[in-house]
Symmetry: C2
Subunit: 267 residues, 2 copies
């Protein structure tokens, strides 16, 4: 088969596409605007991944899916968690189809296996074939099968990082509801400044200090997210964190235009 055009990866955070505080509530105006920005940017090779936000998390928590299968009563919770993700996913696909973007959902639990929550098997050949014929694959955080603990939760961030590495992409755009990483906790100090660029070593130091201190989180609550993305940065992929609740930031990032946010690179 011919080589594919190297895709760019866009991760739409659950905090962007849903109303975090209200279970099972989409942020439809943001979803539709982002679909328009993606259309307008007109990238030929793109993989989109979305998070669970207020759809996946409440049920996953209620049935403790992340801890694995301990009790048969969790099984229906696994079904319900997946089904909630499908409801959210449907809205994203509808919105992208509305913009005439030939989107194809790819169910992570149908082809990604984890080992205690970490991806252990993932056949990317279907995604590659989709890209080859100009379909836009759309993945999402999902309740998946786990070879050790029966099942678990796989975050969209872990999927993004892994797929990025496998496809040797140049860039991952992480869409969240804050402007990026800050030099101080922006919730405590409104004068905190955004970190426009940070190299891997500096980021790792920052993370080490954070995990020691555990008092303030200058990542704006994105500690877990960044931990997932570090392997991608280590393999040379540029990660750009932007606030996609603000108009045109995703568009600009997709067009490689200057945009407010934090860029993480290897060096």
């Amino acid at each position: 088969m011919d080589r594919i055009i190297t895709p760019i990866i866009v991760k739409l955070g659950g905090s962007v596409i849903t109303i975090k505080e209200k279970p099972f509530t989409p942020n439809l105006s943001v979803i539709n605007r982002l679909a328009r920005e993606i259309k307008r940017a007109d990238r030929k090779s793109l993989i989109i991944i979305h998070g669970g936000g207020s759809y996946g998390h409440p049920l996953a928590r209620e049935y403790n899916i992340i801890e694995g299968l301990k009790d048969q009563r969790q099984l229906i919770g696994f079904s319900k968690t997946r089904q909630a993700m499908m409801v959210l996913n449907k809205m994203i696909v509808d919105s992208l189809i509305q913009q005439n973007i030939p989107t194809i959902s790819v169910q992570p639990s149908a082809f990604i296996l984890t080992d205690q929550g970490r991806i252990s098997e993932m056949n990317i050949s279907f995604i590659e074939r989709m890209l080859r014929i100009n379909l836009i694959p759309l993945l999402y955080g999902d309740a998946v099968l786990d070879e050790k603990i029966g099942f678990s939760i796989l975050s969209g961030d872990q999927i993004a990082s892994n797929i990025a590495i496998k496809f040797k992409v140049n860039q991952i755009i992480i869409c969240v509801d804050v402007d990026g990483l800050f030099n101080e906790d922006p919730k405590k100090n409104p004068k905190a400044n955004i970190i426009e660029e940070i190299e891997l070593d500096a980021l790792k130091n920052l993370m080490n200090n954070l995990s020691r201190a555990r008092t303030t989180d200058v990542t704006g609550g994105m500690f877990g997210k960044i931990v997932e993305l570090i392997p991608a940065v280590e393999s040379g992929i540029k990660v750009k964190i932007i606030n996609a609740k603000k108009v045109n930031r995703l568009y600009k990032a997709l067009k490689n235009e200057k945009v407010k946010g934090t860029e993480i690179k290897q060096r």
Copy 2:
């Protein structure tokens, strides 16, 4: 891994779960009743597959998906066809979850590849893992990737037959909207009798005569369906065709009770 309990396969025809004549119209009362029958039958190891009916077919036809990718304008049709199947699938899953059946959809296009419409790659290990932890996998006819023609349509019947062979199941239950196969065309002769049992050789003769004659179809329009199922019968699997629009027939078939219908067996 331990051996799994051999599953039974139930195929819910599109003509049963949707209103055939009305595009995008589910037959919700039938869907809900079948979910209750499945619950009541309480089979421990089960794989359910559903067809597209009035959801998948109109869009697949409009964009000529079955013929493969010939024109970039078909791409959005591929997206729309898949999305229509997701809408139908959601209703089936909702109905099964309502009955406390821990159902897990498994997206065929995420793990099954075809070669000019015939399954050429299918990793069943995820379905096997689901069965192992007592989840009920639910597949469906889908618009899938094709290694030769870009994409195609994969029928639920072809999936049922292939999965049945791979899992060496004992039985496939095919749910349609007619009582079974008849000795004459039931639409032309209301006194036509149902064939209660037929062996493979007799069935093949019947099919040969049919494809030569092309005038009457004593299969009740199920010629294509039976062609798909023959490889399963050849490998020793019993196929039972029942009318699932009639109350309790699926229940009885699942319980191995005597039920009106046609049983096809190797000999």
